[in-house]
């Protein structure tokens, strides 16, 4: 009975706390629930930067490969990239780089540069750069380096505060790359360590090393750890955790490299539930699942539901599965918590995170289909074929859904049950696959080698 007034009070509080210019986008997904929806208004629908400049506020060079998405907070924009267009001519060669720019004009402020791992390709593939999307909390910035370190530094100047080296201190061995994007809630930082199977021996050499950790954000000290996927990690673990409050109780969900989703009590690391997102797959005669799909996408909390797709990077366009899981149950909930799924011929593999908005789920399939799905029933309402392989995740803002394909085109749809394409923007130069994020009335698009800030110009 008290819930409605409380919610209204919360909303008022939220509105009061928000600056009038809009909100920051301080982490992957913008918020701890990772739901790709934001309250920004007046974002540009059409923009161009090739033949003429239209609604381009500023653009800056990055490296030549950019897998992370930008995070925006405190007047700064942060993005991970590589060192193929060095900001510092004295620092040559392949590196992982985190760059910081002024949100107002794109002025380069500082960068944190990390040497490649001495173990080479197997743990830190060439030219992938720094893949983690940072999380900003107050004046601190948290990210995972290409060297599998969780780093806390000053958001103002990048000065290190503490570092937790997953390899040296926890026995972690990443598979081709460390890519998890940290999540800060309260005093804790949650992150996937990126532990993986040995690239050559095809097995997990140290199954006791943790995959999921919670770290004190002030001290960098480990609060709890969990090695759940153990020896069953197929390859690497590149996913990121999400945080939700379900029936008044907080939980944090970690995507595992075994295709299971694990939810824990945030403060203690006690397992609340786990779900096998590959349960629909047949096993071959040797007991291996039929696809290499796992959880690369980030789980999204929407009320009592968690939504996540299965998939893997570039090498297969095969069938995947999008699921809504009931997050109110406990234990192994694979058989009991599936609310709906789209699988088989219904949904291809996907490494994209979903946006859930007004009873609709916006999802991207790897071959390039953009879907609008009913949140209650899992029924597809409409679909648009972007014709080009898509890695990125959508953004819902101001009654529109933005989505980017592998050719860098940004398609803008009206949200809702009727499909309406408002604009199809040609790829911005230097931009390919990735996501679109918004903060403070501006869209940010980071591509292979450029970062654009897009805003309505009068």
């Amino acid at each position: 009975m008290n819930r409605a007034p409380l919610a209204v009070a919360g909303l008022i509080l939220l509105l009061a706390a928000s600056p009038s210019r809009g909100d920051d986008w301080p982490m992957l997904g913008g918020r701890p629930d990772r739901n790709l929806v934001c309250a920004e208004k007046g974002l540009p629908v059409a923009f161009e930067a090739e033949k003429q400049q239209k609604n381009v506020k500023w653009a800056v060079n990055l490296g030549k490969t950019t897998y992370g998405t930008p995070a925006v907070a405190g007047g700064r924009v942060f993005v991970g990239t590589n060192n193929e267009q060095p900001r510092d001519p004295a620092l040559k060669g392949d590196k992982g780089v985190l760059m910081c720019f002024a949100e107002a004009d794109g002025k380069f402020l500082w960068q944190a540069v990390h040497a490649k791992l001495e173990t080479g390709e197997l743990e830190d593939a060439a030219f992938i750069g720094l893949c983690s999307t940072p999380c900003i909390a107050g004046d601190r910035l948290y990210y995972v380096s290409n060297r599998a370190e969780l780093i806390c530094c000053s958001a103002q100047d990048g000065k290190p505060v503490w570092t937790l080296d997953f390899r040296k201190e926890l026995g972690v061995s990443p598979h081709q790359g460390s890519a998890s994007s940290p999540l800060v809630v309260g005093d804790l930082v949650y992150v996937v360590t990126g532990h993986g199977s040995d690239f050559k021996k095809h097995k997990v050499l140290n199954p006791k090393a943790p995959s999921f950790v919670a770290v004190n954000r002030s001290t960098g000290k480990l609060v709890w750890q969990d090695s759940s996927p153990g020896d069953r990690i197929f390859a690497g673990q590149w996913g990121s955790p999400s945080y939700g409050v379900v029936e008044g109780k907080a939980q944090v969900a970690f995507p595992g490299g075994d295709g299971w989703l694990y939810a824990f009590e945030p403060e203690t690391g006690k397992l609340l539930w786990k779900f096998n997102c590959k349960a629909h797959e047949k096993l071959d005669k040797d007991g291996f699942p039929e696809t290499p799909n796992q959880l690369v996408a980030t789980p999204v909390y929407a009320g009592h539901r968690v939504i996540i797709a299965t998939g893997i990077d570039t090498d297969t366009n095969g069938p995947g599965c999008l699921r809504a899981i009931d997050a109110r149950k406990s234990g192994d909930v694979t058989r009991t918590a599936e609310l709906w799924k789209l699988a088989g011929e219904e949904f291809a593999c996907s490494i994209s995170t979903v946006a859930v908005h007004e009873g609709l789920v916006y999802a991207v399939q790897f071959p390039g289909m953009f879907d609008c799905i009913d949140l209650e029933t899992g029924k597809r309402i409409w679909q648009h074929d972007m014709l080009s392989t898509a890695f990125g995740s959508p953004l819902v803002a101001d009654g529109k859904a933005y989505v980017r394909n592998g050719d860098g085109e940004v398609l803008v749809f009206q949200t809702g049950r009727e499909k309406k394409l408002l604009a199809k923007n040609a790829g911005l130069p230097g931009v390919e696959n990735g996501s679109v994020v918004a903060a403070n009335g501006v869209l940010f698009v980071a591509g292979r080698n450029k970062l654009y800030a897009l805003a309505e110009t009068k």
Partner: protein, 406 residues
């Protein structure tokens, strides 16, 4: 009468699918009688091939030649089959070291090349680049080692024969060059240095340009040189259009006065470029007819007909454009839960391409999209079909399949 027969013979000779992607790498067959629809029961024959390979078989007379590799590439093979029934006539094994490659590549993705006297194949490892020749009865004639081969994803380029020269491209992460070998002796006639380097390996197979008043040329596709030309006689670089900023995996295609090529990376193609033939030195600013950056292929090679260009993206979207202008007429998805690494071939106004799952899609080479059929090949494939008269041969991962014929 006699003249007519000669003309027919000459035509049949020109049409023999003696190299990767058939006549001069065009992917275009003049056959009129290859089936459009079939089931597995309709296979003329299907035979197991040892190991795994993604090559395309080549034809000479009544023989088929193909490559394979067993035990993680520790043994490479050249096989000769009777094209009537797929029975093995002879096979040769070459012991080599294994090496790191892309998991979707094979240790025998390079196809053989054949002329009336000899069959040629290239096998690489980190230490060796072996080029070998046998006669059609399997007698080994010569071996030449072009040296170390360094590449992140393995090897793909096939040898090409023109008159008495065997051309090999060797654009790789280490020391790179294009080489022409004497077909009779295997001796290196020339080597032309190339700008290789880290992650600069190219995987395409060259084609040969013959034009009145110009030297015969080798046309290649690579990230560092873009679409480029060398004098076939001397190896001297003639012109290059630096149109690529990504990896070149598909092969260059000659189409009228244009050379077409594509580049890409990871998730797909990023640029299809058409370059006007001719000029000297760096022609990047003068000879680029057009580039297309949306919905273009990374691995599959395009096919040009008289005035149209067709391509299928790795993700399964078929496209048709005006050859002269690059204006896209249509883009239509063939299928969405598989991927395409083999290249399409054009047969009698239709395009044939196999998916990774092993379905041969046939669609019209026409100004409006029409999917004609989807036919099983019995197994997945990353290969390109070989067309021979009324038959089509396709290497699947572990088998060779023959469709059509009487």
């Amino acid at each position: 009468m006699l003249l007519a027969s000669f003309a027919l013979l000459a035509d049949a000779g020109a049409q023999e699918w003696t190299r990767f992607r058939g006549p001069n790498g065009s992917g275009v067959s003049d056959s009129k009688s290859v089936p459009v629809t079939w089931t597995e029961k309709d296979f003329r024959w299907r035979v197991p091939i040892p190991g795994e390979s993604h090559c395309q078989p080549v034809v000479s007379g009544d023989k088929l030649f193909l490559t394979s590799a067993i035990e993680q590439g520790k043994e490479r093979m050249l096989l000769c089959l009777n094209k009537a029934d797929g029975k093995e006539l002879w096979s040769k094994k070459v012991a080599m070291a294994t090496y790191a490659k892309h998991k979707l590549n094979s240790f025998a993705s390079s196809s053989p090349a054949v002329d009336k006297d000899r069959v040629y194949a290239a096998f690489v490892s980190s230490e060796q680049f072996l080029v070998k020749a046998w006669d059609h009865s399997g007698k080994e004639l010569w071996t030449e080692d072009l040296g170390a081969f360094k590449a992140q994803h393995g090897h793909g380029s096939s040898p090409v024969v023109f008159e008495d020269r065997l051309v090999l491209t060797n654009d790789q992460d280490g020391e790179s060059f294009i080489a022409a070998l004497d077909t009779k002796t295997g001796k290196v006639a020339w080597k032309s240095a190339r700008r290789g380097g880290d992650q600069m390996t190219a995987y395409g197979t060259p084609c040969i340009l013959e034009r009145k008043g110009a030297p015969t040329q080798v046309i290649t596709s690579s990230q560092t040189h873009g679409l480029s030309s060398l004098d076939l006689k001397t190896g001297a670089p003639l012109w290059e259009a630096k149109v690529f900023d990504k990896r070149a995996v598909s092969s260059p295609v000659l189409a009228g006065d244009l050379v077409i090529g594509t580049c890409g990376q990871g998730g797909g193609g990023s640029c299809l470029a058409a370059v006007k033939i001719g000029g000297n030195g760096d022609v990047t600013s003068s000879n680029v007819a057009y580039t297309i950056r949306q919905v273009v292929p990374y691995v599959p090679t395009p096919v040009a007909t008289a005035d149209r260009l067709f391509w299928v993206t790795d993700g399964g979207v078929a496209n048709c454009a005006e050859l002269a202008t690059g204006k896209v007429l249509w883009s239509e998805r063939l299928v969405d839960k598989t991927i395409f690494y083999g290249s399409p071939v054009a047969i009698d106004g239709k395009l044939y391409i196999v998916s990774q799952k092993g379905d041969m899609f046939v669609f019209g080479a026409s100004d409006s999209f029409k999917l004609l059929s989807k036919n099983p090949m019995g197994e997945g494939s990353h290969s390109t079909p070989c067309v021979d008269g009324d038959r089509l041969y396709l290497k699947t991962f572990t088998h060779l399949v023959c469709v059509g014929g009487k």
